[in-house]
Symmetry: C2
Subunit: 205 residues, 2 copies
DNA sequence: AAGTAATCGTTCTAAATTTCACGATTGAAA
DNA sequence: TTTCAATCGTGAAATTTAGAACGATTACTT
């Protein structure tokens, strides 16, 4: 089997979301053109992405939603639940803890960490906030997969080091600075400032 | 002059941030290798990006930070202030209103909108929350450039329509569904669920 | 004054991604 | 039964992007 690029994974996840909505609406057939309208991805791209997982469509008809969902999930989502830990329970961290979109996609924040005494040992949305020092132990016990950095810039690298030591293999970094980690650890940067400035530049151009 | 790709714009914005930090530290020279260490972008890529704006470096020395900053800013066409409006003052919306990274980059949230009566006419971080109905008027008066969608999925398209009508030309969409807008309006989707699932898939692979 | 080391800038090469074009297949209609 | 329209799947072309190699330039050193 070929390897799947991150871009492809993103698109397939979009398709999966559309498929789940369609199935919920009791629609059992869908064409690549339909998915294109729902996602903005071109129909050719969609067919190519899907075809890399095998021949699951029928000409003149399209794809059977339930079957396609199963096929995509098998290839993409091996884990049943994604266990996440959060570093930094400030405004952004709290918003993530309360983010409603995670539940139905089986994303679960299993623990949070902070340095500030006033935040520790509280529960937010039924997630316990631990002191940072306990991170390695808690992360291993709860078998977390991914960590979120939602701390101020100057603490970001330190938190990243703790994450790597604790055995996390994926990091979503909301802090406005790049972090250094072994390349076996995947990092996804989400820099809000850059996003806005970039969009602004694209507009003026 | 060639056109600048969105990827390049993102990288250049990273360089600019580094340059501003350096200038603040009174460092007036920097090499592509230095910038590489600060940003994680390869030095070759950095030189290539910069060289597309002209010859501004000196061999054996590197780049003069102040000059380079000026050159990059001129080509990126950075407006002095980016004016943003926010739709949806829930947990995520509040976190954005309080996000500390915006100030020094001259990103300014100039107004917020919500449907919920209990949130309206309050001030959060000195930003007034208006009822959605007043959006077109307020947006035009404050000359906003970009809008943020931080409302539940089912309201996203409606809010997007209002944004387009109000004359916004860029949208950052935090809702977990694609929105339909004229292609003159730039959209940046930030779908937290997809980000986490995608990272999870990349890890397992 | 000449050699040397560091760094820029450019050209070429390679790789990945997207788009295009077209054949293949299927169900429906005449 | 034959034709037809819709849709899938794929191989090739085109575009974009990243990477590598290398010459050119500059300042420092001896």
């Amino acid at each position: 089997m070929k390897k799947i690029s991150p871009n492809t994974i993103n698109r397939v996840l979009l398709y999966l979301r559309v498929l789940e909505d369609l199935i919920k609406d009791k629609r059992y057939l869908v064409s690549s053109g339909d998915i294109s309208r729902f996602t903005g991805v071109s129909d050719v791209q969609i067919r190519k992405d899907i075809s890399s997982f095998g021949k699951v469509g029928t000409p003149r008809i399209g794809y059977r939603t339930i079957e396609l969902k199963k096929v995509l999930k098998d290839f993409i989502l091996q884990c049943d639940v994604v266990r996440i830990v959060l570093f930094g329970v400030g405004n952004l961290g709290k918003a993530i803890l309360k983010y409603p979109g995670f539940n139905k996609d089986r994303i679960k924040v299993v623990a949070a960490f902070d340095r500030l005494g006033s935040r520790i040992n509280k529960k937010i949305n039924s997630v316990i906030v631990y002191p940072v020092e306990r991170a390695p132990e808690v992360i291993k016990r709860l078998r977390a997969d991914i960590g979120i950095i939602a701390v101020p810039k100057k603490s970001a690298q330190g938190v990243a080091d703790i994450m790597v030591l604790s055995g996390l293999r994926g990091i979503v970094n909301f802090s406005p600075c790049p972090i250094n980690v072994p390349k076996s650890v995947m990092v996804k940067d989400i820099d809000l400032t850059i996003e806005f400035l970039s969009l602004c530049c694209s507009i003026k151009a």
